[in-house]
Symmetry: C5
Subunit: 361 residues, 5 copies
């Protein structure tokens, strides 16, 4: 639940553009790393103060400034000032409650995305079952990309870093727009991992549904449904973000990069498709569950009815001969007892045959 | 229920533009406050008669006239006359049944919004649980903003007032369009508080659903669903209102303000998103509730069936030996009684084992 | 049911433009009234023959010809001929099965609307509960408005007539397009009355649902649902009709009138909104009803199970001591009877405690 | 079922434009009729060979060639060749699995429609209950209309033929486009008959649902639902077909005819509206049916519970006094028997009162 | 399940354009066949190495290179290099997880489709019941078509090959765009076969539902529903693909071919229509199934209630006369026993009549 809405009440009433950190603080101290490269040169360093990043603004090379920890508002503020970013943009960076979006500010493009992951810590089962999101904000300028993360350890950008370091592939040859694309692509690619895991869980739950449906199965379906709601919220807006980037008129994005953006767009559509398919499957499973409960009830009722229908009439018969009337001729017959036993056996067998014919047995 | 449709039958048949107050009278006497400012000067006063507002119309400074209490039709009428407002607009101000909308009249823009709040009075539980709405009408002219409220005590505009008084921030430097934006923003921001509270309630209800579902839980879900219908009705049209304001061609709204309007628009989308998510969750919860009822029924039926299936056959057996036939050899056996007891014990135990195997126990 | 589709089979195969009256005949003789006015003069009369209307066609004043009773095809035909109306239009006037629509024929605009009302006769309960519709066709020319009604006594146009007679307000000063607007507005306004009544019924049904749900409640919900289907059918198309009128390019409608049309359009949206809200509420109520049935069943089953579970084992015990074995030591014990009574009491009490713990009591 | 998909597997793999007849053969020999007319002259004849039609191609008069029986591929082929029709068009004529569509080939327009009817033969009840479809293909050229039917006896075109013969009305004065319109109009008009019949059935089923819901009622609802699916499939695409015809840019269709096409378009919308209304009603009826089953179950359970709750405790009491303990003081009391009878009567009556209070009786 | 999402986790993090084969390896060695033709000449051969294909690139004739087996990345790479294909396109060819799409790269068009089939092997029932998909990628250049298949034995292209060989029909006379169309058409045509089979299965399941609904029927419905989800995923995007091809501005596709593409587009719409119809029918069937379970339960409950209601009171009566009171006058009556038997018979018969009247029998 707490994943669906975060406290932002403290913010109500503040003037627009006020920096307030909304969300959990996920790291102690913000970490700033700088990667600067062009086709021929490459530099990578960890900055101690944010001021170390400033000289890169005017260098012709492509610079990627990655900041982990958006709760340090001073950093956001200084960067905003030096790079001339709009106050509303900075506000959005600090507020981890954004939905994915893309805003073209002319000289730079602002992109908000959600990085999704399963918490690695397997200690707490319940928690480990839930997809978590980390907000990533990208600011794409003509010669730089600034990325903000919430500060959770580990990200999906390592392969991109590796490619820049090696100088292989296309990345070093191209500009900042390709770098931004590469980061977006890395995030979208990681969604497939989440979907695979969810797919496996759905498979397991379905298996369980067929073999032994219990009320935990229902809870499992419900849990998966909520994961889907959560995922959907993170992924659906991406569609528009990417279509805006691809078809937008910003001069920051070159034609060659657009083809790559179309590719990520395709992936997003594929992910949305899969999410919708999963949703369809889950509601199908709910139907199955409900009718399996009804079937079980039928089963129980049948047992009860068979037992009651056989023995209640028989008990009535033995009751008759338990009466204490003085004049009951049958009681004196030599074979009366055995005759009654026989009659009851016949009734019982006849009823069993009847139930078998009705397919209750 | 009464929140969903108000009496407006008295209005049927009246010529268009006739001022009729529709809605409850929420204050005794209308209260008029005037705030007048530009970058260098600031004036705030409470007006006793509406005529005190009139001189501000032609001053170059930005004026905010706030009127609480739309049941005093004379005030609305006089303002309309002096500021040259269209009769249909005035009619809409007096009718608190409007849906949020935005109308561009050329020289001024008319915006209708809903201020949402939980009634502060905790005396009456039922009522305190319901979101209430107060209609706010804004008229944005080139150098003034007129706002009408229904007159409920307290509003969400205090932080805006404070910012104007202090002269800090952007507000004093900018024109009436920014003021209008600030008011809209304050209202939209306050929606997040409502959503947080609703989120908590949904969380509580879900908790209840898992631990101890009762028929009050169902009523709770139903109540929350209706709150959602109510909220949706107030918030959905906002989307269009804000997109019209942002993309509209009115010269009253300057380019710099448009970026801020895009920000509120974003917030609105976020709120709508959350409402839809809540709706999805609530219908998921209804499914869970219904199947938990079915599960309970199964449980009850199992108990009944187990008891009946064990004891009905045994009662039949003891019935047999209660018969009064003269010739029943078993009755004379020395150990007959204990043999029957033993046989019945065996049957009982065997049945218990059978039920355990069937996982009914 | 009969309200949802009327016999129009007799029409199949006839050439297009053939006048056939479809619908019930609702008055004996058609009634024609003429109101002719401009800013300075006013004339009102009841015409005996349709020919009396013809001279008004070429007068510069605004003329409103109102005809009640579309089953007199001769009248429709003559009017059509004299005013140069298209045969298909006349066909539509006579066929009361139209959906609301607006057609621009260049020299005149054809508008079809539904007047909704509750039949006033309270004799027959069932019928009085159903919203009825009367088709109103408006033909708006440059200096005339012709309105056709089905001929049911009473309409919602009286306030409009009154305003024209008094010469107060805007109506007399403006042209035929404003008159057409006033008529449409009167009809749309009357929908709010219907919605209020339906709202009250929904409220009542909901009250009933909470206090004492019976199968009549279900029928009530079903009935209201069908009223909604009926209303929706009449109101939805209005949205497009009014948006076409407002945004259309017809020179018959002046700019000043368009603002008024926007106002009716707003009302229509509000009505549609309310209808959708009602529909949402009704399906929520159905859910509640169904689960209240399930709850009741649970209640019944609990009573049965408690009784059976307590007494079936006890009956078994008394059965044991009703057996007639010769050697049953307990039977001879001095306190055997009281011991058995005591044991049974203990079992009974223990079971009651068990059920209380399980919250079945 | 067989109505929803027909064998077309034999066609897979054949080159496009290959003539294959898909569908049942519905007549032995194709029948060709020619009607040729203009304002002054009229000729009607039945052609023995298809070649008799060819001379009409170049006559200035309007010619209507009607061919019943699309399984005679030679005819289709020869017509195609002589009138210069595209092979894909001919393929579509022979394949009765088309959905309604309209294709503008420049020199001619190709329209596919479904003629709907109830099979007249009342022998087989089940069959007579099902709407059947016959595919009609129209080819509209500048001076001819060619219509293909599947060859089922009887069509809805007789009134059109009659109007041409009589020379009354508009048809003879106008061109081939008006003829095509008249044919389409005749088909669409006949849909109203189908809807009327379906409306009656729905009414009957609803009546049944209220008075005596049985499992046949459910089957009836299901059957009607499927009829709706079938109808919808035939009618929905018509909307687009007619809107294309009306708004299309083809010079084959004159402005005067377009007004008539708008009229048919209106009818189609009305039909679609009615179908949707019927669907809504049918799903409402399903809800009613399901909850009436639940209500019945409740009723049954109540009977069982009342009987069991009254008699099980009483049987226990009589069981007590059937025990054979030697020392049971009550057994020796003079009025013991009557006292027990009295106590049991009191218990029984008290329970009846309790059930009445609970409204179970 | 495994058909809905395939492992592509191994790909996350790799640079875009990296060739990775995703999907099962379906053949040992890739097979390359070349068909080269124009109106007058024809050549067909199987290539051993991919290099054999290269000379055809610059020949004016139309060449069709068909490669079965996309796991041999070297082949894809070499072709890409020689024909100047974009790396992202090659990546998509190797990844069999694509959704159908069409991309215009200027000099060539890239089309991805799904070939659907039932696995021919009837050994494993479960598997044979599932539709499988094979991805087909087409690259359409000005004088060549390259098609990639996953390598499953057998495809639906044989009729196209045959037509080219024979030189009959249109294919040899036209360019590569017509060849691409022919391939797409062959695939779409084969969907009808799948739909027919599914239609038969739905028919069978419906039959089963009416005659003898068991829990396997439910599983059958569920299975068919999932087949529909799968099919839908493969077919829906086709709609856009074909509409883009038909209406696109690419100079690679000639006007004459566009008419043919419209035909395939029509088929696709028809297929989508049928899928939606099937979905509607399946959810209707689920409703029927659920209510048939409820009906069965009612039936069972009736039997139980009838038996219990008749015999429980009778057992109570015999219990009374089994009591051991010393003073019970009836016991001594001469005809007491027979009187009691008679009374009980009357009660029993009366109850049977009551149940018959209530239509429970």
């Amino acid at each position: 639940m707490n994943r669906l809405i975060k406290k932002r009440s403290e913010k109500a009433g503040l003037p627009p553009g006020t920096l307030v950190h909304i969300g959990e603080k996920k790291t102690e101290k913000a970490k700033i790393t700088i990667i600067d490269y062009d086709e021929t040169q490459f530099e990578e360093k960890e900055a101690k103060t944010i001021e170390e990043c400033f000289p890169f603004k005017d260098k012709p090379t492509t610079t990627w400034i990655n900041i982990e920890g958006v709760h340090e508002l001073a950093i956001i503020e200084k960067i905003g000032e030096h790079f001339g970013l709009h106050p509303l943009l900075l506000e959005d960076v600090a507020n981890t409650e954004q939905r994915p979006k893309m805003e073209d500010y002319g000289e730079y493009i602002f992109i908000v995305l959600k990085m999704l992951f399963y918490p690695p810590d397997p200690a707490d089962d319940e928690k480990a079952n839930e997809v978590k999101a980390e907000q990533v904000s990208l600011i794409l300028g003509s010669n730089f990309v600034i990325s903000f993360q919430e500060g959770i350890k580990g990200d999906v950008f390592d392969p991109v870093r590796e490619r820049i370091r090696n100088g292989k592939g296309r990345t070093r040859k191209m500009k900042s727009d390709y770098l931004a694309y590469a980061l977006v692509d890395a995030i979208v690619d990681s969604y497939f991992l989440i979907l695979e895991k969810l797919g496996e869980k759905i498979e397991d739950t379905e298996e369980e549904l067929v073999t032994n449906p219990a009320s935990e199965t229902l809870r499992g379906i419900h849990h998966l449904k909520r994961e889907m709601i959560f995922l959907r919220k993170s992924v659906w807006p991406l569609r528009e973000v990417l279509s805006c980037l691809e078809r937008g008129e910003s001069s920051l994005i070159h034609a060659t990069t657009r083809i790559y953006l179309r590719d990520v767009y395709d992936h997003t559509i594929q992910i949305i498709d899969t999410i919708e398919t999963f949703r369809d499957m889950l509601s199908g499973m709910l139907d199955i569950y409900l009718s399996s409960i009804s079937n079980k009830m039928n089963q129980i009722m049948k047992v009860l009815t068979i037992i009651a229908t056989i023995f209640i009439p028989l008990t009535f018969i033995v009751g008759i001969y338990g009466m204490n009337f003085e004049y009951m001729p049958e009681l004196k017959w030599r074979w009366g007892y055995f005759a009654v036993l026989g009659i009851m056996a016949i009734i019982g067998v006849w009823m069993l045959i009847y139930f078998r014919k009705k397919r209750w047995l």
